[in-house]
Symmetry: C2
Subunit: 250 residues, 2 copies
């Protein structure tokens, strides 16, 4: 029996702009007497990636536009947060009843372009998504390979809502070092039936699994996933985005 | 360090209408020398639940309607499968380019009302979703508690596609014995910021985690999740369904 396991990494301390995530991670692992092994992968919450990349905006410095102010007034929101959400978006997908669903510059569809006030500084600053989460994941993957000598795939995650269903699930927004899908198309099941559509979004499922082990207030921004037979490869979170012309809900 | 683990249960053999899932599960666990402990929960793929409940329809017995035949012809589908998908639905949410997204009688929004030919008998029969997956989960939960003396929460899962994103993720369609959300609303983060919207759909994340450990062709229809600090309660998968009047994408 080989179990699949999620192991939270703690003791990170505060991450500041310019901090090396790889160094902070390796030091946290040492404190916790954990060691990365070949076959492990990491799920990293985007918040520490954004912080290390300086994607923090003090709200006092944000000048909301007329549109942002109008929207904010209507729904009782902070106009500066609305301003940031609009500035980070390339398209509004839906807005109704105070919910603003945008397509971000990366092509992610999510609430408020991922702009978030939690786990920063008590509401005075907002954290934006990393500029290019696939590139951030690739950088961490590369540095870890250099320092450890083994390729450890990296998934950067954020919690997203979904249409039709209540609640948030942790979702992959940046990926490096593994294929994001497990593709069963063309394979036959034990009864001889050929599968036609089954392509499993394992990168998203891995992010969700990490979310279970490292919940929001746990101060565990990184999760080791051990025992998942990932397919090494040049997967990117970008591959998980359905193209607009193929999407029935945009 | 307390890891969260997913342990696949194998050696189920074929499930037939009328089979007791609890008995089959306990026998599979014995063969595998596994024992359920307090704190474990189970994720069960809906397919074996549907089979045990007789939700199998030989395609030869299906008489497609004119609408089903027309739709099937247009997209090169099997008219009998389309007929079943329409019969299992209460509303069509989208149909375009051969994709049929319906709202099932349970309120689930998914492709083809969850009607599926895989892992049955090589394409001669279709499996429908359980009539009431929350009730199916409750029945298994109850029987296991009677036989083992401990409450083991049960999640019944199916793999669903998502708008905006490619690939399928394993999703909770039936639940018994645990709360489906981990609710952070009203709690303060370590910086004193009060969370307003964070409610994590842990039942869906648990289903996804099981999907990673027990993939489609693995012949492991049940997964033990060990080490997840679930909140016992009367959660139902129904609670995960966003009401139509609150949904921006229906």
């Amino acid at each position: 029996m080989r179990a699949l396991a999620a192991i939270p990494v703690r003791s990170f301390g505060e991450i500041r702009p310019g901090d090396s995530l790889a160094d902070r991670l390796l030091s946290a692992l040492r404190k916790q007497r954990l060691r990365l092994r070949r076959g492990d992968l990491l799920v990293v919450t985007h918040k520490i990636v954004s912080k290390s990349e300086g994607r923090i905006v003090p709200l006092a410095k944000v000048k909301p536009s007329v549109a942002a102010r109008r929207r904010a007034r209507r729904y009782g929101h902070d106009p500066r947060v609305v301003e940031l959400a609009l500035a980070e978006s390339r398209r509004i997908v839906r807005q109704r009843r105070g919910v603003l669903i945008t397509e971000t510059r990366h092509g992610l569809v999510c609430a408020n372009s991922g702009v978030d006030l939690s786990n920063v500084d008590g509401g005075r600053s907002a954290v934006l998504l990393p500029k290019n989460p696939d590139r951030s994941a690739a950088a961490l993957h590369r540095t870890l390979r250099r320092k450890l000598g083994i390729p450890i795939p990296v998934i950067i995650s954020d919690s997203f809502g979904r249409p039709w269903r209540e609640g948030l699930c942790e979702t992959a927004i940046g990926v490096a070092g593994l294929k994001v899908f497990r593709d069963f198309r063309g394979r036959r099941d034990p009864y001889g039936y050929k599968l036609r559509v089954t392509r499993e979004a394992v990168a998203d499922e891995l992010a969700s699994m990490a979310g279970l082990a490292c919940p929001k207030l746990s101060r565990s921004p990184v999760c080791i996933i051990r025992g998942f037979p990932f397919a090494p490869g040049r997967g990117r979170a970008r591959d998980l985005l359905r193209q607009k012309r193929l999407d029935l809900f945009r």
